[in-house]
Symmetry: C2
Subunit: 355 residues, 2 copies
């Protein structure tokens, strides 16, 4: 039992589109786990979203980050909607949260499940179980840069990637520590041959940190070759450590290789515990299926598993993960994107039954 007198305060931001639908699923599941395990869960919901931006001019209130600071974790559905450019919606909510709270680890586990068909031939016989450890605070995603000579023939845009020793060290350390409790191998994504300032530095610092963990093998792969290998030999990977942009690309790719983006979870972690961490499915707001009850709640529910683990509620987390696994086995209790027939609500009901 995870019963404690402790309270676990969760800020739930459903966001836009199917974010709202999968957030409802998470609420129901958390209520059930709370009743069973006495987790002391208290959920406050925030309507921060593109709709709010269209109504008020801001995705969240000016003191939004301060508000979140009081919580033990943030659970986010998805943010993004037509009429609001992506860079507005993301840099107005998601990315500021990741950065203000030093959530420098974006953890993206990827694995195969019985019942979810991989697009690869012989997928059933190739169990994939890897974790992408994505740097989440610096690197290529930077607001440094700008436009020169607007409208003229020489118009130029500069985008600066910024990598710090501090930032690379801590993400490398996290990946190495994780690997030492798993398969003891870290693959580091690089592109030192093309990106001659940032990536040789990345390699240098990752190597230095790896020397402190001789029990873990470090393998370096150029990101182009690594992308190819994720298709050709995905089962050969254990922990992959990557910069913000490379981690973004590789994690979507790896999720696709296992059969569905709809089941992929992510944790934005501040491993120091000083700030709240944030948990969100990898999928977006999916305007094309929003409001139809078709959304796969598993990406969100698996994110809840990661959140419960982070909040030291390991028993509840394990129980939920088991329920997810069982529900995925049966077409009647999984959604159409993974070859099933169930609605979001039906999957949720099945998971609740299984708890």
């Amino acid at each position: 039992m995870d019963t404690t007198t402790r309270t676990r305060r969760i800020a739930l931001i459903p966001g836009d589109g199917i974010g709202v639908e999968v957030a409802a699923s998470a609420r129901a599941v958390l209520a059930s786990l709370d009743a069973r395990h006495g987790l002391g869960i208290r959920i406050d919901e925030f309507d921060w979203s593109c709709q709010r931006y269209l109504d008020t001019g801001a995705l969240m209130p000016p003191d939004g980050l301060e508000t979140l600071r009081a919580y033990d974790a943030v659970l986010l559905g998805a943010v993004g909607w037509a009429d609001v450019p992506d860079h507005v919606s993301l840099w107005g909510l998601l990315i500021p949260i990741r950065r203000a709270f030093s959530q420098y680890v974006n953890l993206r586990p990827v694995r195969t499940f019985a019942g979810v068909t991989s697009p690869l031939a012989d997928g059933e016989n190739r169990p994939i179980d890897l974790v992408i450890v994505r740097e989440n605070n610096e690197g290529e995603y930077s607001q440094v840069g700008g436009r020169f000579g607007q409208g003229g023939p020489g118009e130029t845009a500069i985008q600066e990637a910024v990598f710090t020793r501090h930032g690379i060290s801590r993400i490398a350390d996290y990946a190495l520590e994780l690997a030492s409790s798993r398969g003891r191998r870290v693959t580091s994504a690089t592109k030192s041959n093309g990106l001659v300032h940032s990536m040789p530095f990345w390699d240098e610092v990752v190597r230095e940190r790896a020397e402190l963990r001789p029990e873990v093998e470090l393998v370096e792969e150029h990101v182009d070759a690594l992308a190819a290998k994720l298709v050709l030999r995905p089962e050969s990977f254990d922990v992959i450590v990557a910069s913000n942009l490379f981690g973004d690309i590789l994690s979507d790719l790896a999720a696709a290789v296992t059969g569905s983006i709809g089941i992929a979870p992510s944790a934005n972690l501040d491993p120091t515990g000083e700030n709240p961490s944030m948990f969100e499915p990898v999928h977006g707001s999916a305007p094309d299926i929003a409001g139809k009850g078709l959304a796969n709640p598993v990406g969100m529910l698996w994110s809840v598993v990661l959140m419960l683990e982070h909040l030291s509620a390991g028993e509840a987390a394990a129980q939920l993960m088991d329920a997810i696994e069982v529900s995925l086995r049966d077409p009647a209790t999984r959604t159409a994107d993974v070859g099933g027939t169930a609605s979001t609500e039906q999957v949720t009901a099945a998971v609740l039954d299984l708890l």
Copy 2:
């Protein structure tokens, strides 16, 4: 017949490792096509390579680029070897050639072949036929940037991506024109949500150019989602236009999805014809199999096809492409990386027989 009194002067740079082996294959095939079609082919070979760097301190002589300027095309095997850091070997030869000769298009056709098994389930029934049009002169691969506070705790590396209206316009135009003679759809790889200076500019210019070609449909995809779709629905793509880095990643990935990096070709084109263009297989020097006769020459030979097309020798090009296709059908005339039993020389002999 492509018979003309014209001479076609080719600079052959075998380079390192299996580059040397596949270059020998190309020489033999070109000699045979020349004899048959009277193409006026004159090949001069250059030993520019990592070995030359280790011996003399430079991959090519100081007047190397001037020397190449006199040729109609450059054919390159592969450059790169242990003991020479990649960024030295590439920025000392490959990348200067791409830039000095305004080879701003890196063309990477990707398709399935009978006999080459795709790693995807049901691959035989999913014919893939797409072309990646990669920007080859600017963008993320830039020497702008550097290191600050070396060795100190605040050490920082900056890597600047530089995108110009001129550069984006011309690559978009090339992709749009190519698409209008194919499936009339261009997918543009973006990441405007994360990279807020470079990619919104890329999108803006690509859209402007696409408006001038109303017969071609423009689809924009974030590079993470695009990578996933290349695994889930590769058959849905026609022409993909991408920046230097994104094109690099997506083209390796797409080649993997069809079954082998060993068959993937590339053309570095100056479409104005003012400068020589360069043709090279996508694979590298492959130290692990070098010298063993295991290299798949098809990536190189398909690159020769692209070169012959570029040099207005369409009939010879088509004949070679047919021979490649037929050779790939039989395990006895294809290499181990594509499930065959043949050596580099045996594949070459088979292609020569088929010509």
